[in-house]
Amino acid sequence: MREHTVLRVVTKVLIAPIILFALYVQFHGDYSPGGGFQAGVVFAAAIILYALIFGLAEARRAVSPNLLRITGALGALIFAGTGVYAMLRGGNFLDYDYLAHDAVHGQHYGLLLVEFGVGLTVVSVITSIFYVFAGRGRRNDDEQPPGDAR
């Protein structure tokens, strides 16, 4: 669709606000509706829009599947790591009270960290799923090993 000038220009204008809104939903999620999951989906929508207009290869160059594998795993590790850190500080798993000098700050930090982990994983996984579906039936590059049919 890259020959449609209108779509190309509008997409270029829209992608930055979409990402900004995703970040707002992410980091304001503890005070207003939203949170990591919603923010992750909105962020992934920006990448998918880019892929739809400028092509899959272009999108894979901007956000490589390898990077997504790493961020996806890191997000889950941040979530679980926050819980384990609370354990090391003497609380139960995911007990945010123990994360800072007092319980109110602890809860705040805990929520931010955990939601960040969720957001990171959701962006990565949703985009990866899109890459896999969109890449089906095309010539795969070395990121996606061809289906093994032994």
């Binding site: 594998r69 790493i70 996806g72 795993a73 890191l74 889950a76 590790l77 679980a80 790591g81 819980g83 384990v84 354990m87 003497g90 609380g91 139960n92 798993f93 995911l94 007990d95 945010y96 009270d97 090993p145 093994d148 049919a149 032994r150």
Partner: protein, 496 residues
């Protein structure tokens, strides 16, 4: 410091695999991922053992996730019943992790091996989570974690048919999971709580409503789909047959047992035995279905030519034994169920591992292709024979103990027709195991087949560890029976 560690053990059993899975994805290599998997499962096995001892000495443990007190937050609750199941799940996982390396190297493309181990860890995490949680909704979440990852694991099988059987399992498993969720939703609607103990205390006030009865029905059907009770078992033979060998061994030995545990937990702890078995005729329904499972499963197993499929049908029959035990709703029945859960886990784990070792050599596992293998793979074949004898229920094996306590449990209320069904099904087990043994030892190798050697040492070690566990439990059954009786007392005392 040590006390703090002991207090965190219930959570660590789930947290360790949950941490290890993304670490495997980051490592991106099959070898290191296998090592992480090995370390995690053995650490969890050690934790499960400590928890088992702790519960035996000090009684039930409650753990508040995130520091939120039980009826409001998620509670992990360990008692005499689920520590036994946890010990089984972690033990099988630990032993099959030793087995997995060679088997995975042969069956999974090396660039995807790290994803395989990550999925295996998530499946393990889900199964351990179902076992330790005391929260009904949390149980559903862990059930989905284990189910989703097992669909992926089965789809990684080396034949194309693996994809189709994984899809079949996905459809059936999703229906099962949804039914369970609807049932839990009904209970939540009537009681306003998701904590199992809390639901149990609020349920008697609303027990005579159609909603609670429907909730019970949905939960029974949903979990039955997951452990493949007779009329809803069609997904199981394909799933076990086409899955990679190490997955068949792990899932066959654990996943169905954990789903049975989930149903027992709902029936005895949440609804209470008096409600489910006296007020409603659930016992009769389950007894009839378990007999049908035993006879039809064994009958189908006799006519299979693929050994893995034969073992899968035999699993359907063995689920019948386990369900029959707790469907009696007596103390002897529940403890017979627990004994057979453990023994069947060890037996089926050993059998699938032995068959996997043959598959590792031959790349096929039909009765004609394994003919005469008894002389070329003597150690593997002997493992199959001993585990097979245990499945039939020959004295001095774990299987004999299971059948003995189950027979005692069904004779107690005078159900002689059930005893007859157990004996008939055991004879049928003799026939289908006998067919494999006959092929292994009394037939010649097919013409033109090159001679094969033994399987790798690690695979043999893992297989024989499970086989020896069978013999040890057959000769010295007191600890297992004692643990099962404590489990029965714990659930029957707490319920109703």
């Amino acid at each position: 410091m040590i006390e703090a560690f002991f207090a965190q053990m219930p959570a660590l059993v789930i947290v360790l695999p949950l941490l290890a899975a993304p670490i495997c994805v980051l490592l991106h290599r099959g070898g290191p991922s296998w090592f992480v998997y090995l370390l995690t499962t053995w650490a969890c096995f050690a934790l499960a053992f400590l928890l088992f001892v702790q519960v035996k000495i000090g009684g039930p443990i409650s753990y508040a996730m995130g520091g939120w007190a039980p009826p409001f937050g998620i509670e992990l609750r360990l008692d005499a019943l689920n520590t036994v199941v946890l010990l089984l799940v972690t033990g099988i996982a630990a032993i099959s992790s030793v087995y997995a390396k060679a088997s995975v190297a042969a069956e999974i493309a090396s660039e995807r091996a790290y994803l395989f181990y990550a999925a295996l860890l998530l499946c393990f995490c889900g199964l351990a989570g179902i076992t330790v949680t005391g929260d009904a909704f949390n149980l559903f979440v862990f059930l989905e974690i284990s189910s989703l990852s097992s669909y992926a694991l089965i789809a990684m099988g080396s034949k194309r048919r693996a994809l189709l059987s994984a899809f079949q399992y996905l459809i059936m498993g999703t229906i099962g999971g949804t039914f369970l969720l609807i049932g839990i939703g009904f209970l939540y609607m009537m009681t306003g709580s998701l904590n199992m103990a809390d639901i149990a205390s609020r349920l008697p006030a609303v027990a005579d409503t159609r909603t609670v009865e429907a909730g019970l029905a949905f939960i029974v059907v949903g979990t039955s789909l997951k452990f493949a009770l007779f009329p809803v078992h069609v997904w199981l033979p394909n799933a076990y047959t086409y899955a990679p060998s190490s997955v068949s061994a792990f899932i066959a030995a654990t996943a169905t047992k954990v789903a049975v545990y989930a149903l027992m937990r709902f029936l005895f702890t949440v609804f209470g035995a008096a409600y489910a078995f006296d007020q409603l005729p659930l016992g009769e329904v389950l007894l009839v279905l378990s007999v049908a499972a035993m006879l039809s499963g064994s009958m189908a197993a006799i006519f299979q030519t693929d050994v893995k499929r034969l073992l899968a049908w035999s699993s359907i029959a063995q689920i019948g034994y386990i369900v029959m035990g707790f469907a009696l709703a007596s103390s002897a029945g529940v403890s017979a169920s627990v004994v057979h859960m453990v023994n069947h886990g060890l037996i089926k784990g050993a059998l699938f591992m032995a068959v996997g070792a043959m598959f590792w050599r031959l790349r096929t596992i039909s009765l004609n292709d394994i003919a005469g293998l008894g002389r070329q793979m003597p150690i593997t074949s002997a493992a199959f024979v001993v585990a097979g004898l245990s499945l039939i229920g020959v004295p001095a094996t774990g299987g004999f103990i299971s059948k003995w306590v189950l027979l005692e449990a069904v004779m107690e209320p005078g159900h002689y027709w059930l005893a007859a069904a157990i004996l008939v099904s055991s004879l049928m087990a003799l026939i289908y195991i006998g067919r494999v043994v006959e092929a292994l030892y009394f037939r010649e190798r097919p013409e033109g087949q090159p001679p094969v050697g033994e399987a790798p040492v690690l695979m043999l070690t893992a297989t024989w560890t499970l086989v020896l566990a069978n013999i040890v439990l057959g000769l010295y059954a007191t600890p297992l029976i004692g643990a099962a009786e404590r489990a029965a007392r714990a659930v029957l005392g707490a319920g109703s």
